[in-house]
């Protein structure tokens, strides 16, 4: 008798819950996104710059989401280690059931995660850095809004040869992004008719660059191309200054990693005229950039300076929000990829950008910038624009 009453009560409760659930669900769509970045380890500084862009976007635009849709970012620290990154991606997919992965600073981390995305059909939108050209080839569920190393190295090589500079020297960090940049510049410079007179690969952990810079000086090239990770930028620039490379009439070129905006105030007596290629400069005059900088200033005042990583990460959030708006937060992995493949943003802080449907990689302007004083501050002034550059490596190395 008692037992029977309990069963009846149970049935009522269960059916009532079931009746309520579907009615509440549409008002509570939560889009879970796994954000993997290197909050600790040797690129922690880059992670901080990128996170500021992401946080700012969320704060400014959370209100623009469709009614009843919420975004939940599940943050994970890959500690700058590919093994850890892979394990975390696995956990995010299987345990947290995220619909999408994003972030990623280091190419080896992206390469470690990519195969998982194909297995689980959960897309990875590389949004901070990880510029290894081949990464989207690993899995059809990888797209990229940041940049590729070839996209920066090749155009500046070509541009340098067009300036009438005949002899070039390359000096790069002896690990994968260094090798990629070296190859890209070399190809670009040779395609333009220039000649490489020397190349040196420098140890990735190196406190003093004087011996390498002296070698460059001895070789008397017209132009040198350098690439080192951001954390070593200041040390390299100091050696360039101390050994008087600019005074020896040698032009210095690099990718934007050498002169990230947040480090410029610390580079007070940096030799002017350093030339870098990049996808963003804070002083770029574009409406998208003006809006971005205004929002940044509201949030961080003078406490932080954005750089290309902040803008890449911001644009990654734009793409994700566009996807959520178009699908009201309900999408499969394949639908998300179909959306990203045709995603465009004509008004990014870095200018017009789009994802190439064939390669799933970013197409964007590459700016040649020269370090100058502007209003009493160092700035990367854009002196030439190479419009809508596709990743050159993929064009030279078509899929087999």
């Amino acid at each position: 008798m008692r037992c029977g009453r309990f069963v009846v009560a149970l049935i009522i409760v269960v059916s009532a819950t079931c009746a309520l659930l579907p009615r509440r669900a549409p008002a509570q769509t939560v889009v879970k996104i796994g954000l993997i970045s290197s909050y600790s380890g040797f690129v922690a500084q880059a992670a901080d710059q990128a996170q500021k862009g992401i946080d700012l976007y969320l704060k400014e635009h959370e209100k623009d989401l469709p009614q009843g849709v919420k975004v939940e970012l599940v943050r994970r620290d890959d500690t700058s280690n590919p093994e850890v990154g892979k394990r975390l991606a696995q956990e995010l997919i299987t345990r947290e059931h995220v619909q999408l992965l994003t972030g990623v600073i280091l190419s080896p981390v992206a390469a470690a995660i990519a195969p998982l995305t194909a297995e689980a059909k959960v897309p990875l939108l590389i949004s901070i850095a990880a510029g290894g050209s081949a990464i989207p080839r690993i899995s059809p569920y990888v797209a990229r809004v940041s940049f590729t190393l070839w996209q920066q190295g090749y155009p500046i090589g070509k541009w340098a040869s067009e300036q009438g500079w005949k002899k070039a020297y390359t000096a790069v960090s002896d690990f994968i992004p260094g090798h990629d940049s070296e190859e890209a510049f070399t190809k670009g410079f040779r395609d333009g008719g220039g000649q490489i007179v020397g190349a040196v690969r420098m140890p990735p952990a190196n406190p003093d660059f004087a011996p390498f810079v002296q070698r460059i000086r001895d070789a008397k090239p017209d132009v040198v191309f350098v690439w080192v990770p951001s954390v070593q930028a200041t040390a390299l620039v100091k050696a360039v200054r101390d050994l008087g490379l600019r005074e020896a009439d040698i032009q210095i070129t690099s990718a934007q990693d050498l002169l990230p905006e947040e480090q410029l105030p610390a580079m007070g007596d940096t030799p002017l005229g350093l030339i870098t290629s990049g996808n963003y400069s804070t002083v770029g005059e574009r409406p998208g950039n003006a809006n971005f900088l205004a929002a940044w200033k509201r949030e961080y005042a003078d406490g932080a300076i954005p750089n290309f990583l902040s803008v890449n990460a911001w644009d990654g959030m734009v793409a994700i929000f566009d996807l959520i708006k178009a699908t009201k937060g309900k999408f499969t992995g394949d639908e998300a990829m179909a959306f990203f493949k045709n995603w465009k943003n004509p008004d990014s802080p870095r200018g017009p950008i789009m994802i190439d449907p064939e390669t799933r990689d970013i197409v964007q302007n590459v700016y040649i910038r020269r370090l100058e004083q502007q209003n009493g501050k160092l700035a990367n002034i854009e002196i030439a624009t190479i419009p809508m550059v596709k990743d050159p490596w993929k064009e030279f190395n078509p899929p087999k």
Partner: protein, 292 residues
Amino acid sequence: MHLSDTASAIISIGFHGLAFAMVLYLISVGLSVTMGLMGFVNLAHGVFAMAGGYVLTTLMSRWGLPFLPALLAAAVAVSLASLPIERLLYRRLYGGEELDQVLLTMGLVFMSVAAATYVWGPLQQPLQPPPWLSGEVDFGVRSFPAYRSFLILCGAALVTALWLGIERTRFGARVRASVDNLRMAQSVGIDTSRLFMTTFALGSGLAGLGGGLGADLLAISPSYALQNLAYFLIVVAVGGLGSIRGPFVAALLIGIADTGFKYLLPEFGAFFIYALTLGVLLWRPRGLFGRA
């Protein structure tokens, strides 16, 4: 390449090698005091050097203090801050197991990484040398970067002062006596507890000074203590424990040879410093000037 160009390149490499050697010496000399004289495996040496760098850059950039007073303040502040650390932590492990000392100091290193990130953030702290140390100094024959010249001067001055202070004074004799035979030293009336505290503070102060002075070359960031640990240990091990001249000679040898080899054979440049260390230690396991 013309002959004069070759000569100029050699002078330049010699000079920069010497400057790098002095940075190595300045940041390691404190360790030769705590580890060399006191026999404590102080892997957390870099923490004190890093603290010196942070104090220096903070005083200069936020409080606008001039370079030299800020440098002095950094050394003194680190030295004072090390006193309670010595009292509470290090003291318990004097004369104890080396493994315990390694574990304690390694723990301190990891804590310092987290603490520095929390307080100063992950960014490198820039050192802006004062105008009189920026640019070049003309030595008649040719000009050299001012800051690096200043570093060479500081290294030379410091090694002289320490050599006089520790190998030629009563204080130095007491320290060495206490390390060699603690009980005998106590029974002839040396207050070893106080002596060790002073020595530790001296070593930490020197670390703070070195971290501050070297910040232009070895940038101050949260992982400083971990990143540069190998350099500190190499200089002290090659120089020999318990010697004041040893680390100086070792720093010169490593700094100049490292710079020279990176210049001549860049492909093998990074490897050389370790090969040299291995060679020296195989030849003289106690280091160049180590006491038997």
